[in-house]
Amino acid sequence: MLALVPVFPLIGFLINGVWYAFFQAPPGKHKAHSGVTGVIASLAIFSSFVVSLLLFFQLKDLPEEGRAINQVLFSWINAGNFSLDMALRIDPLSSLFTLVITGVGTLIHIYSIGYMHHDETPGKFFAYLNLFCFAMLMLVLGASLPIMFMGWEGVGLCSYLLIGYWYTDIEKAKAGKKAFIVNRIGDFGFLLGMFLIFSTFGTLDFAVLREGLGGAHASIPPSVSVGAITTICVLLFVGCMGKSAQIPLFVWLPDAMAGPTPVSALIHAATMVTSGIYLVARLNFLYSLSPVALEVVASVGVFTAFFAATIAITQTDIKKILAYSTVSQLGYMFLACGVGAYTAGVFHVITHAFFKALLFLGAGSVIHGMHEEQDILKMGGLRFKMPKTFLVFAAGWLAICGIPPFSGFFSKDEILWKAFSSTHGSIFLWGLGAATAVMTAFYMTRLFSLTFLGTLRSKEVHVHESPNVMVVPLQILAVLSVVGGFMGIPHLSWLDHWLEPVIPESHGIAEGISPSMEWVLMAVSVAGAALGIYVALRMYANLPKAAELKRKWAGLHKVLTDKWYIDEIYEFLFVKPILGFSKLLWKYFDVAVIDRCINSLGRGSEWSGQVLRLAQTGSIQFYALILFLGIMASVGYLIYGMA
């Protein structure tokens, strides 16, 4: 049954893909309606959701120690004494991920039926969307690193195809290519990490690796050095930096917003970008063995969270703001993993999937209603024109700001508390995290205020509410964003308990920290969020004043608007030099050095031929003859000279 989870979307992909390629793609052929293709795709992913649910209950009935279901499909690579099975495995961790992927995925598929209504090629779109779900499910269900890597690159491919979905716009095609290549840089690390794991431990299977290291109480085997484990963890984390858009490989995600909005919601917010956290959580027993690696993860996470939030403050494209906010929230998740609170990281993955999918789809609804307008400076007052969207968006907004009892509050608070109290935590990590939380509340309120409050600033647009096929999924996500946090209430956490077989619970609090601090910090972070909201609401209720403030800080504002010039710096440091050097290699090494040597060899023989006044024919046969005679002479020498 396990294999059915990824197989359903694969079937959906094949149906839509074949139908599209054979009967819709050729020029002049009629394109299928988003209704039909969308229903096929939605059914496929919904079936997969049902199976995931069944598997979830099946897992629940198993005894805790043995909560895993394996399925070996076939032997994939079997050469010499290396063998690798195409094997799937579901356990509490992957079960949660499959539920989120298929559950949120189904809602986004249904939403897309409405959103892609006017698109020219919905058949292709839904085929890609299903293919993505297939790859994503392989990623979380893969029993070993290579199977996971297959899904890992597969989602990268779908992301590439979907970002560049409207390929006639060269900028969008370029954004897709950028995403793939930046991800490949990460995959380079993933590959090397995999090699090192294999040469160190002789296995690539997660369960074998875990058992071999001692299961829940893993320890470093005597034959292995801490350095090797640190190297493995950091290399794999490079892969996570790519996929989960962390410094320095985050640059592709904001550009990825070129894709259709449901894609941004599904791939670039709710699922694919969290695969890095999944990988770290999956290998938590390994990361926990290396304090240095954990430190790297936590620092990169918290810096990314902070850095991306600063950029989000000044952006005016509604999707770009959400994109940087995603980068920032992913940073939080890594911060959690980096202080050893993997469960908190996974918790935030889930709540974030709810509220960020909601925010993106809400933004999509706004964009749809505003006729493809994405600039929030041209919006305003939409609460009257789009009351349903307004309501659900408000739920997402409060959730991401961390206002209790919305879901984001619980997970973010858990992360901040662990960043402070865990043995790997520090006040510094907490401080940056808390500052990010204030900024988050600020920029999200800014977005919310400029979009829904005030009055409409663009005159010529006729705004309309979105159809029910789009609104109903939003409402479901809104409910989830409101109540989703209760699965992880501190100290009573169902989630901690559920993940226990995969991620051993750690109640470790660093010395000198009293448990009551948890309540103090919670109050501080809620107050911080409230402050952020208050300031933003005040500021953007009076736009001329906000504009004046902007003028006052013009320098900083420009740096932030231009995203700290990171893209330009990369262009200058890497892209240009590599291209230049390659050209140099080609023109001056290949053509000028090697070829010239060869040609002069040719000329040399011509010259010697002229000297001998025998080779004036210049014919190839003649050279051959000379060479042949030479050989005979050499043979003679070898036989009689060396013997």
């Binding site: 994939w76 390929y167 290519k177 290549i181 380079f188 299977d205």
Partner: protein, 524 residues
């Protein structure tokens, strides 16, 4: 029938030549005659393929030894004989050759219109040469086939090639000839050594494998003999810095020539290493291991870097071959079974995916008569089928898991990691660069708005073209998901060649769900 069964190899090898000779008699003055000739030739390549399938079925996958062997004395005084046979290494390369030949012929059905009879005669005699080289068990026979391949290719490039065809053909010919003549010297020396050690001349590989050759140093007799073979094979691979004939030859060759050149001829180099250079000179291989791994790594990076900046699609694909074949050399010289099997698989992969790439390039070339990337842009809009297939082949070329390319690169790098970690790290950078040059090219050719008016009216792939590409696309996925089907037939022979070439038998732990292997590792 019985005769056929006992001479299956010989029949398969020489059938294309005979068939093409008969084709010379077909009058081609009329259009009907031309079509008849093409059909005749295409049919011939299909019959050859069918014969090779028969041969494939006769082959028993379990054994490492040569099978279906035939042997006739030829020049017994010099120990030369007509000896042919099949093992797991030659098996798939033969299948690759006979499989690609009909595809290359049908794929360029309308590409050539001049001197048709000669063209097809050369193409099929090329097939005989290639097949012959793969099944020769006698070094002299191998050498003859090796040289025989050269001639048809030389003419194919020189007569039916592009603008600078003469220069390209000359370069191709001289490079290969110089390399192979050194090998000839070594071959004679080996036969003589056999006389010294065993009392009679012999050129049979199975005899020569028993030779004890002196020395392990770089310039010991064994080292020199290895070099003589290695240079010939390295030129064919082609290995940096002996690769510069390839871009010229590829760009100038007609489509079918490019396809065969990339898909099969380059494999001669890798095959030569596996069949001759490694088992004959085991100590020398160990001595030269690191230098060749370094060259392979340089080729991977260098080929990719130079491919990145090519303005000409065909040249880009040619340099990508340098990069891909660099993986093969890296894998072979890692001297362990994982990497060597990966390297062998990579040769097949490269045959399929680069063959397909040259066909695709040929197809748009026939429409627009230009290979400049900048002439294209936005082609997806007008050629959706072309776009889909081109995308799949591109993915195979950048080794996406699920396609054949991944299996090869993954195994090579994983195996090479055991041999030398530093080089593997550098070589793995090719994974990034490969994506860069392929996707960048794809974007410039296929995406964006159509900027060039001439591209607006391009016709999508015809039924014939789709039929040509379909088997390749199917192979990409079959080889990506079920490599075991290939390995199971090849593995015994690869193990044999490795054990003979002195590779330390390395116990690789098994990655399965069972827990024992890990405990063993831990125990150590």
């Amino acid at each position: 029938m019985e005769w056929l069964e006992s001479h299956l190899i010989t029949t398969t090898v020489f059938l294309p030549l005979l068939w093409a000779t008969a084709g010379l008699l077909i009058p081609v003055s009329s259009q009907g005659g031309k079509t008849f000739l093409k059909t005749w030739i295409f049919f011939g390549s299909l019959v050859t393929f069918a014969l090779s399938v028969w041969m494939f079925q006769q082959y028993s996958p379990s054994g490492p030894e040569f099978q279906l062997s035939e042997s006739i004395e030829w020049l017994p005084q010099l120990g030369i004989s007509y000896s042919v046979g099949l093992d797991g290494i030659s098996l798939w390369l033969i299948m690759l050759t006979t499989f690609l030949m009909p595809i290359a012929i049908l794929g360029s059905f309308n590409a050539v219109d001049m001197r048709l009879r000669e063209y097809y005669f050369l193409l099929l005699s090329l097939e005989t040469g290639m097949l012959g080289a793969f099944i020769s068990l006698d070094l002299f026979l191998f050498y003859i086939f090796w040289e025989a391949m050269l001639i048809p290719m030389y003419f194919l490039i020189g007569i039916w090639g592009g603008k600078d065809r003469i220069y390209a053909a000359m370069k191709f010919f001289l490079f290969t000839l110089v390399g192979s003549l050194l090998m000839l010297v070594a071959i004679f020396y080996l036969a003589y050594q056999h006389k010294v050690q065993f009392g009679n001349y012999s050129m049979l590989v199975t005899d020569l494998y028993r030779l004890k050759l002196l020395g392990a140093g770089f310039f010991s007799p064994q080292g020199l003999l290895f070099l003589a073979f290695a240079v010939a094979f390295a030129i064919k691979v082609p290995l940096f810095p002996l690769h510069t004939w390839l871009p010229d030859a590829h760009v100038q060759a007609p489509t079918a020539g490019s396809v065969i050149l990339a898909a099969v001829l380059l494999k001669m180099g890798g095959y030569g290493f596996m069949r001759f250079a490694f088992p004959l000179f085991p100590e020398a291989v160990a001595t030269y291991q690191i230098p060749f791994m370094v060259l392979g790594t340089i080729a991977i990076i260098y080929g990719a870097a130079v491919a990145m900046v090519q303005p000409d699609i065909k040249k880009l694909v040619a340099y990508s071959s340098v990069s891909h074949m660099g993986y093969v050399v890296l894998g072979l010289f890692s001297l362990n079974s994982l990497a060597a099997t990966g390297a062998y698989y990579q040769m097949l992969n490269h045959g399929v995916s680069t063959g397909a790439l040259f066909l695709l390039v040929g197809m748009i070339y026939e429409r627009r008569h230009t290979r400049e990337i900048s002439e294209y842009g936005g082609i997806t809009k007008v050629m959706p089928w072309f776009a889909v297939i081109f995308m799949i082949v591109t993915l195979s070329s950048i080794a996406l898991p699920g396609t054949n390319g991944f299996i090869g690169e993954f195994m090579i790098l994983l195996g090479a990691w055991r041999a030398n970690q530093t080089l593997t790290v550098i070589a793995a950078l090719g994974v990034i660069l490969g994506a860069v040059y392929m996707l960048w090219m794809f974007q410039r050719v296929m995406f964006g708005p159509i900027t060039n008016k001439e591209n607006e009216k391009l016709k999508d792939l015809s039924f014939r073209e789709i039929a040509v590409l379909t088997p390749l696309v199917v192979s990409i996925f079959v080889m990506g998901f079920f490599p075991n089907y290939f390995f199971s037939r090849t593995q015994p022979s690869i193990e044999r060649f490795l054990s003979r070439s002195g590779a330390k038998s390395q116990t690789t732990a098994v990655a399965t769900v069972t827990l024992e292997p890990f405990n063993q590792i831990k125990g150590n």
